[in-house]
Symmetry: none
DNA sequence: TATGAATGAGGTTTCATTCAT
DNA sequence: CATGAATGAAACCTCATTCAT
């Protein structure tokens, strides 16, 4: 598969700081992602995961107290990285006029997130499905979105509005338009029609153009 | 709950044509929707459904051979109605110039679908969650979208493009923009932030305006 | 099927004396025999019987208090007729020298029982399978065999032994030989190899000949 | 019980080659045979088996995927041993004139099979009852009987016929007589009248004598 | 650390039987 | 007499989790 297990490398690195992940543990996590993402968490059995990982069922529970802990150990870390860092550096750049134009900023963000989604597709699928059923995840999600994303996005939108480069809409509405268009592109591209042959660059440019005109100051 | 069980009335009417649904059967379907939509299909137990329906567990299986058949009996009918009829009458009206302007058409569609989604929220939730795990549903979904939606939407988009009222984008791309914006609105409004106090009319107008300018012929 | 439902005619006649069997009741009994004989009593469900009989499930229980009563109502009557009457008239004939030779008697009995078995095959199958699990049936079986069959058979065997036409073996042993040979023929013919093309007359003669020489007074 | 669990020893030995049977697994098989043979397969419940085995019900399904697999694991192996080996060594001996007389051969076979049946009584009961309901078993049975038994028996019968020691009957018919007489003895002795006090040696001799005279060349 | 047999609670499904219509 | 919806006990089976090795 072309999907690079970026999330796995990340996971290993993180745990590495604490205690090394054993070879078997890595196999378990890989198998779990495979099974969870194709059958859903509730529809998966630890025995199938164990089998696919080439590991005894007991071994799973040596590393994770419960099946749910296994899920969270996979899904929680990705959440931060899914939403947050879309602008760790970029964010600053915008305000510091490294991105003088809205579209340069959009281009950077969309490229970055599309890339990220591609590399973490199966874990993201799991996340999307499980969020509604796990209050912990919802909680975490809301906090991150609120504190990290909305806060920053608001600043950026207002920044451009003040410069007269964006229409004077309620900020949340403007963010909604940008997000729908960008996320819409990514979901259709990666989830719904991954088979179609896409000209990614082209579609991204169209999307940016659509957003730009949609949000251009009326005149 | 403020959600009106439109889907239930519809279900009863449909089955009525064949054989009357018993009172208990209706209770079962209601309970199933409640439980499925809050715990997911795989996470729900027939015993909980039975209990909530005030029915013996065996009764469920008199009416539905399997738990999955119960799911499909609920979810399959809504799918057609979710996607298809967004333009049964409207569609004709557009081409017959009852909607002389794009925005009139958009307004009608968005209102209609928002309304529909509101009245069928829990069943739609179930549908969204289960589609990835049930090939039958995927199949049905794809067929309906391809044959009913894309076909019609394409005609409409081209219709407006020919009239010079819409930018010359690839049709799929144009449809993607409209769909993302409209569906984005509906999902955020009903699923993600149902608590917030919304001025629906206002947001719909913003959204139409956004789409209109995003797709306006470039001058 | 070539199997004539002799047992059914008999059943109807018997019940007729008491209360008429309704049309539906007859269908139930027919269906029950079909299902019981192909899946065994415990492996059959009243719902399958009802369906095959074209009758509501409740109807079965209107006529038979329990599933087991349905079984017994079918199987008990046949038992008497399976074992007993092999010599009601013939028996007398033997002793009254209507059958001057052993072999004439054997020929009559084997023909008669083979015929009977053929006409009641499926009910006999049921009987054979269920006897071990139903003490009532065992009881009935033992009584009939002891009182009707052994008693008479003993008399006949001794009759021929006294005449010097049969070897002086313990009577039970002699009866065992006759029974094994005759029953062996019938079972193989009807149960194990019903497909093979048999020359029944020929095989019966062989069998009689085998018994006759096996039991001939040693000289 | 006086019945020695020869079949169990055999089962354990067989499975041992692959993977050791656990203590609990042995208890399960023992309990299953007990329950199956007294209530029939369909009439037995896994919960009763578990209870009698002193094991959790789930444990049964760790070792056998289904109740039926448990049945087959018990019954299939005995079938081969029930029918086949009645003449593995004896067969050769006959043709090599170690058994110069028919009766010596018969004596050996009957003794051997009676012994075998006695040691495997309950499993044989199960086998007899379940064969009609399980096509796999029928299939296996027919193959073994056809390839192993009939083939050899035919050779032996012809061998003696050529020597002028046996009447010129169709081979199948001759085999049928021998089989009915021998199997008749064994079934009555062990299944129908196990309580009676038998002089086994005596009855076997009678039986051999009966067969010998029944099949003696007519003269 | 890793195993996999064992558990028992709970899941889905079947089924004989009852009862209102 | 006949129906078939409803029942609830019990059937078969699954599964997360524990624990002795």
């Amino acid at each position: 598969m072309s999907e690079v297990d970026e999330w796995l490398a990340e996971l290993i690195k993180m745990n590495d700081d604490a205690e090394k992940m054993t070879h078997k543990q890595i196999k378990i996590v890989q198998a779990a992602v495979e099974v969870f993402s194709s059958k859903g968490f509730a529809g998966s059995s630890t025995s199938e995961i164990a089998q696919k990982a080439g590991v005894a069922e007991g071994t799973i529970f040596r590393h994770y107290k419960t099946k749910k802990e296994l899920l969270l150990s996979i899904v929680a870390p990705i959440m931060t990285r899914l939403i947050t860092p879309f602008a760790l550096k970029d964010f600053v750049k915008v305000l510091e006029a490294d991105y003088p134009e809205v579209e340069d900023f959009l281009r950077a963000v969309i490229h970055n997130r599309m890339n990220f989604a591609q590399k973490n597709l199966s874990v993201i699928k799991i996340l999307l499905h499980e969020i509604p059923f796990h209050p912990e995840l919802q909680q975490q999600f809301k906090e991150i979105v609120a504190k990290q994303v909305l806060l920053r996005a608001t600043k950026i939108v207002k920044h451009f509005q003040v410069q007269g480069k964006m229409i004077e809409l309620p900020t949340e509405t403007a963010i909604r338009f940008i997000a729908s268009s960008a996320i819409g592109l990514i979901l259709i591209r990666l989830l719904f029609l991954p088979e179609a042959d896409w000209n990614d660059e082209q579609e991204i440019e169209y999307t940016i153009d659509f957003i730009m005109h949609g949000l251009a100051p009326r005149g």
